[in-house]
Amino acid sequence: MKAMHTTRFTLSLVVATILMIASGAVSTVSPHFYRDDPIAREPESQNASSAAPSDIGQMYEMVYNLLVRPGYKPSDLRAQNVNTVDEVPDSSWFTNRVGARRLTIDEVVRGPVAGAPPDPSRWVIFREKTSGVHPGVTARDAKGDTWFLEFDPVFYPEAATGAVLMATRFFWALGYNQVESFLTTFDPKRVEFDPKATLRRPSGKRTPFTHDDLNAILEKVARRPDGTYRVVAGRLLPGKVLGNFRYEGTRPDDPNDVVPHERRRELRALRVFGAWLNLTDLKSANTLDTLVEENGRSYVKHWLQDVGSTFGMCNDLYEWDLSWEHFYQTGTSMKRLASFGFALSPWQTVNYVERPSIGKFEGERFDPRAWRPQTPTTAYMELRDDDGFWAAQRVAAFSDEMIRAIIHTGEFTDAQAEKELGDIVIQRRDKIRRTYLPAVNPIVAPRLDAGGRLTFENAAVDADVARSPRTYRASWFEFDNATGSTRALSTTTSATTTMNAPAGLPGTAGGFVAVDISTEDSEYQPWRKPVRAYFRRDPNEWKLVGFERIPDIR
């Protein structure tokens, strides 16, 4: 009996081995660079119509992010959705705008707005507001379009609505899908209630929405002297609502979602963009996935749905610690506990100049790396310096003029406040640049012309946040695209960002060279670690097909 078992076992092993060898025999090795690299758009090839709504429990997310997530050890893995030149291609998550192309002032001021504004001559309320912390309602305007109306709290009579208007434009320019938002008017005398309008009560039942319910909302919000209310109207997003996206893993019901969200660079970069504009409420509940149809195919579109917790806007006038601490930090708690509160945190002494249009937002003591959202996310914790560099380049691409033009869309009545808000945003932008641009080797935009002259730029030096190194060094390699192997050619140096390639570069189309570019005598240690650029010889030119700032494995 035992012998029979042994025979079966051996036979099975033999069969398995033969199958493995056979299958291995037909496999081939993928090239390092494909002919369409670098891709400009992440394909979404599959029909996602089977994706179904699913939500995240807010309490679960908070508990998880505050108590479990801090123990998370970042993978230190490179973002996975970048193309071969280390850029984020367009996708259902992200569209390259600022920093990738020249945006006009008109474009950034228009932002996500594509349609006409609401007609506030009549509002028909049919539901409560379903997201966001500031009071609001869901209503149809005189044209019958659906809008989410959000009011200003009494203590910030212009700031909350202004924050939504400004933030949607900033985040749109940064590349995120944003809600179309307009500043408009809500006149209680021109309000009707849809006969089917209901409100969820403490009993759990929905009962008709009444005037008293509306009054309960209006009592808590800022009213204009003429009895009307300043509101921001967000247009209903297109498509079927699928619930919030998560900052880790993938949607198991979306075939096109193959990159774990914590490895998406644009989600990691929210740590930098969030710090700049003070997007403290980074939780999943402020995001949204919708199923949209285009050319007869359905795909999931991902939105940063609510970016109103920016520019110092918070749930309560007395929330001083926002942006300085997570809701809970063990180390900070222990320090306060042991010192009876004498171990002061910056938020206890930072100087805010609060105005009706500016919340708790300042630039003097702002430290981009010390900035904290209410709760961390996995993508937030996965940010590497190359992600931070990528994000900082985009922040740096906002000119003073663009920033002030966007701030102006907040339509603040206090011109001085508008100026101060712009000053703070510019000051924080500059701190982002100083923090993240020199933190890695800042070589960008390498080009190799047909005559063999290499040029590149130094983003940190160009942004005036670092001194130019005395010497740049380039190590040249012949690169085998099939095997990934390299053969050293030569090393060249230059005091400028231009240098000649050595003799002996492949001259035939389809040949590849790799160049490692570093600095020899910079005061910035990370600059001595080379970036690598890959060029492919096309018939008449060298084309940049690859760029690695911090590769996973060299």
Binding site: V15, R35, S45, G341
Partner: protein, 404 residues
């Protein structure tokens, strides 16, 4: 059998590996990046499934639904039948009878065998959100309440116990004319006090005192109690506040059905929270004075006398430690924010009881000091633990409400 099992496992592993490899081998090798990504998406499309929440996520979401959406009507209940009963454990059942109005049936049993059963109807949204009504009725059995004699200079060793059973019922209406700051409250209740034989190591008051030396002893008293409060309340919530204050006066009338123990009482209360360093520290102060007037020919019985001692006033002394016709309590806390959910506090309490109103001064105050820890939400204290030290020893307070 084991051999067949092993064979099956190996075969399955081989087939899966073989199938997968074969599938990859049959799929044409992508010649573009786009095709490579599409291949990964095609592979994923073969195994789509809805999101499956982890066990922890399901559990916490159920808790959230129970707390926020009130999908679960059963709730724990930790309130004691009467102060001094020790740790109490109980349960309640909430039933909404309209969109906002709710009936709560609840009961508890304490370490000192105090028993409570009561029902409360709450209407929190009357008069266009200006009024709150609470109707409550119940029964409690309190098995051992300490009595140490009159005044502030009594000795611990003089403790005697009394016990009582009490059915009660009444209502209280709170009205906020401007929906905030200024408040008025009125209420009426009827309660019957039936003194019973106490349990515990201390002797019964009936063996130490006589009805002549301790008014109310041996009596069954039915009170009709009416009260009225006017106050100014700028706190975010009475159950947890880091700023604002409360200033109020409450008048009581206790009418004894048998005209033996009728009296009137006035309570003056002032609370102020003074935030420092953006509310990371709060100096919280409270003063409360109670004075009584007996009605003609009547006296205030032992169980209705103003008193001090216990987890919400003189925390370093046992519950009901000091009793007399009038009382004065002064409390100060230095509250320290550790994080958004947790505070600690250093506190000092002082107070006295007196037979004469003019003796309510700062001489001869009994005092204690201590350290506290409190878990809270923005609007409510979830759990409070205080350690208080007085010359009568160290006492530990566990509570689900703020001290003030």
């Amino acid at each position: 059998m084991r051999g067949i099992g092993r064979l099956a496992v190996i075969t399955i592993v081989t087939l899966v590996a073989g199938t997968a490899t074969a599938a990859l081998a049959q799929t044409p090798e992508p010649d573009t990046r786009e095709a490579a990504v599409e291949q990964a998406q095609t592979e994923k499309a073969k195994s789509l499934h809805p999101y499956v929440a982890s066990r922890a996520e399901r559990l916490i979401t159920e808790v959230e639904n129970a707390l926020v959406n009130q999908t679960t009507r059963w709730h724990p209940y930790f309130e004691n039948a009467y102060s001094g009963g020790g740790f109490a454990l109980g349960a309640g059942y909430l039933q909404h009878v309209s969109p906002y109005n709710v009936v709560d049936l609840r009961g508890s049993y304490s370490a000192s065998q105090y028993k409570l059963a009561e029902a409360e109807f709450s209407a929190p949204r009357l008069f266009h959100r200006r009024g709150e009504l609470s109707l409550i009725g119940g029964w409690r059995d309190v098995t051992g309440v300490g009595f140490y004699g009159f005044g502030s200079q009594t000795s611990l060793s003089n403790r005697a116990n009394f016990a009582f059973e009490q059915p009660y019922g009444g209502g209280r209406l709170t009205f906020w004319p401007t929906r905030r700051l200024f408040m008025m409250r009125g209420g009426m209740d009827i309660a019957r006090w039936s003194l019973t034989e106490p349990t515990g190591r201390a002797p019964s008051v009936q063996t130490v005192y006589t009805p002549a030396t301790l008014p109310g002893l041996g009596a069954v008293t039915t009170y009709r109690h009416t009260e009225a409060t006017v106050g100014f309340d700028s706190r975010v919530s009475p159950a947890y506040a880091r700023r604002g204050g409360f200033y109020g006066v409450t008048g009581h009338d206790y009418t004894d059905h048998d005209s033996r123990f009728g009296f009137r009482q006035v309570d003056y209360e002032a609370i102020q929270h003074i935030p420092i360093l953006r509310e990371s520290w709060v100096i919280s102060l409270r003063g409360i004075a109670s004075t009584t007037w007996h009605k003609d020919g009547q006296v205030v019985p032992l169980f209705a006398l103003p008193s001090l001692g216990g987890g919400s006033n003189l925390r370093g002394f046992s519950s009901w430690r000091f009793r007399d016709q009038h009382s004065l309590l002064l409390q100060a806390e230095w509250r320290i924010m550790v994080n958004r959910f947790f505070d600690t506090a250093l506190f000092y309490d002082a107070g006295k009881v007196a037979a004469r109103r003019e003796d309510l001064d700062f001489n001869g105050l009994r005092n204690d000091y201590g350290f506290g820890a409190r878990f809270h939400t923005p609007f409510a204290t979830v759990f409070r633990f205080d350690v208080a030290r007085s010359r009568e020893g160290t006492r530990y307070v566990f509570a689900t409400s703020p001290v003030f």
